[in-house]
């Protein structure tokens, strides 16, 4: 019940896949949280009422909460050293969302960088199939 059983390779592989999927959703919600935070901060004013009605900022924080929950559920099933670096996918989504939603100009460095991250995550995720 507590830990994943390594005795049954089929079960272990399924648990691993489930953990990777959870972290994947974690990176999407993390990216949405960052973009919402950025939008919220762009019309931030330090008054209590303004903060309480700042929907993007508040939903950004709520997503951070969801994010942590997903990460914890993933860590229950999988290896920390494999799952934690996958969080770098957040950079990929944030970059793509800033291109489309925040109309930031694309550039070669960013494009090469997010491609390398995607390849790196694919390599990480391919491990364990010994």
């Amino acid at each position: 019940m507590e830990a994943i059983s390594t005795e049954n390779p089929k079960e272990a592989a399924a648990a691993r896949r489930q953990a990777i999927i959870l972290v994947f959703f974690c990176t999407i919600s993390g990216a949405a949280a960052q973009i919402l935070g950025k939008i919220g901060m762009s019309h931030f004013s330090p008054q209590p009422l303004a903060i309480l009605t700042n929907v993007p900022l508040l939903s950004g924080y709520a997503l951070y909460g969801l994010n942590t929950l997903l990460m914890v559920l993933a860590l229950r099933k999988g290896e920390l050293s494999m799952l934690y670096p996958i969080i770098a996918l957040t950079y990929v989504w944030v970059t793509l969302l800033s291109y489309t939603l925040l109309h930031e100009p694309p550039n070669l460095f960013k494009n090469c960088g997010i491609s390398l991250i995607v390849i790196g995550v694919a390599v990480l995720g391919s491990g364990g199939k010994k």
Binding site: M1, E2, A3, T68, M71, V72, L73, L75, R76, E79, L80, S81, M82, Y84, P85, A88, Y91, T95, N107, L108, F109, K110, N111, C112, G113, I114, S115, L116, I117, V118, I119, G120, V121, A122, V123, L124, G125, S126, G127, G128
Partner: protein, 117 residues
């Protein structure tokens, strides 16, 4: 290197170390989760979340100074610390896939940082 940049780098470096320990405690806490939702309220998880919040404070103070091309890669050093702690505390192995994947990810983060500033 300006004192301002050094200050930002130290803050971000601290954030990466604190955050990596946050992940370790989340992993410890996650093992205590059962079907009972109240099992989420365990000290390890609470400490992990607290470390995450603490790490984000250092991170935001650090990146306020700009220079993302230098600061982003420092943040991602957290992945390396986590790999070390995972081996130390959870007996997880360093595999070729993990090291190669991590190297690619780090290179990618460096490039994203260079593109951002």
């Amino acid at each position: 290197m300006t004192p301002q940049l050094l200050h930002s780098m130290l803050l971000v470096l601290a954030a990466s170390v604190i955050g990596s320990f946050g992940a370790v405690f989340l992993k410890f806490g996650s093992a205590r989760i059962t079907r009972n939702p109240l099992s989420f309220l365990n000290p390890q998880l609470a400490f992990g979340v607290a470390l995450y919040l603490g790490s984000s404070v250092f991170y935001f103070l650090g990146i306020k100074g700009g220079q993302l091309s230098i600061l982003y890669p420092l943040v991602s050093l957290g992945y390396i610390w986590t790999l070390l702690w995972a081996r130390l505390f959870f007996q997880e192995s360093f595999t070729k896939q993990k090291c190669a994947g991590l190297a690619l990810i780090l290179a990618g983060v460096v490039l994203v940082g260079m593109g951002a500033s």
